[in-house]
Symmetry: none
Subunit: 244 residues, 2 copies
Amino acid sequence: MSVQSVDRALDVLEALAEQGGQAGLSEIAARTGLPYGTIHRLLQTLLARGYVRQESDRRYALGGALVRIGGVAERMLAVWAEPYLTRLVELSGETANLAVLEGDFVVYVAQVPSPRRLRMFAEVGRRVLPHSTAVGKALLAGRADAAAVFRRTGLPRRTDRTITVTEEMLAELGRVRARGYALDLGEEESGVHCMAVPVHDGGRTFAALSVSGPAERIDAIDREELAAMLRKVAEDFGTAVFRS
Amino acid sequence: MSVQSVDRALDVLEALAEQGGQAGLSEIAARTGLPYGTIHRLLQTLLARGYVRQESDRRYALGGALVRIGGVAERMLAVWAEPYLTRLVELSGETANLAVLEGDFVVYVAQVPSPRRLRMFAEVGRRVLPHSTAVGKALLAGRADAAAVFRRTGLPRRTDRTITVTEEMLAELGRVRARGYALDLGEEESGVHCMAVPVHDGGRTFAALSVSGPAERIDAIDREELAAMLRKVAEDFGTAVFRS
DNA sequence: ATTACTTTTCCGGAGGGTGGAAATGGTGGA
DNA sequence: TCCACCATTTCCACCCTCCGGAAAAGTAAT
């Protein structure tokens, strides 16, 4: 059971974020489908708390309070993860990422880039669908409602290697569970390979750790060896988070 | 004028942030004074949207959605700051900067360069350690965990004036608190001096404003006068971001 | 096994939220 | 300068949805 007005306030905030952090009342109305009066009232509430600010041209924008709270949230996971990501980079030589499931999307929370010249672009904060990424598969493999997620999101084709059939995807998740790691062999972006493992904190999967890079370099690493690295680091990270 | 349930949901989020991003239901109840049932219902709403996560021990923590929205808001900081930085440049004739703390690093978020020939190189996006910069000192002076930050980062020498001893650094932060501004007299880069002040949003320091330039020119400005300028602009900026 | 605690669920009453519509304010064109 | 148009803000009566006490369920420690 959700609180309607809170849900709608979040809709308003997200509409603002999707407009690039700035929008007029009517733009928000168009995006959310809520009546003007309602949106205005919600905005006044957020305004009074600093979660939204109003420009001189009466348009609304995301407010400073979000920077502060967002910082606290990000520091929590990202700071805890940093040493582990660094260790992964040292071990593998490739870019290491931490991602969490947020609703039906995968969100990259932290990254430590590879020291090599050719490397992945920083993508912290990026949202992607789970079916075409190793982190997404790792996160969903441990969940019973994976099929429901795919029903909602669909399996849009990203490259010619993307798995677009639900049955195949569920079989893939079975393989992930069986071998303990997930792969993305250019399914999200051609030429980019990636291996991911789930991070548990005492039972539940709450994040996924991955290593990604150019296909040739990733494929050159022994697969079981890389998986062992990832699993070890994921376990250490999981218990570190769990104990504090 | 305000929507009660939204207001309370924000109270819950802020209570979580004040507990360091993690708290049990009853801790939130103690802090907010709201009844258990109400808090639980609000948390369920925030949970469903990813604004809050639930750890395996049933405690609640700030969620990934806040990281994403906070990121959008932070990018907007640069836009908001521009007129204030411009004013600082007009007043002082020197390059003005805005920086925030990200993890244990200082990140330059925005800059308006001095119109003079000799001026600092653009460094938006640059990450530096806090101990050798005025903005870093200004950001850490208001935090109780400054010593912990230095323990993690160390105090690497950047120039022969860099403060490399923790006790001296903590004393320096005391001076910063006492006089209300921080100085960097060639501690990050020889010949470059800098003055910075914290920007508050209703209590907490969330950014630092600075003016920097060649040692001779910065030293030629009356120190108290420059500090007064910075403080005034920082206050205006802080209130503009937080409310309005 | 029992105790002490925290979290979750439940439900009837009523207070607070809703949203249509009117009023106000701002902007660009004539 | 004035007007017309669009966006924002305010208003209010209805009624839906949120409130919160209290009991149940779950968890951890003795």
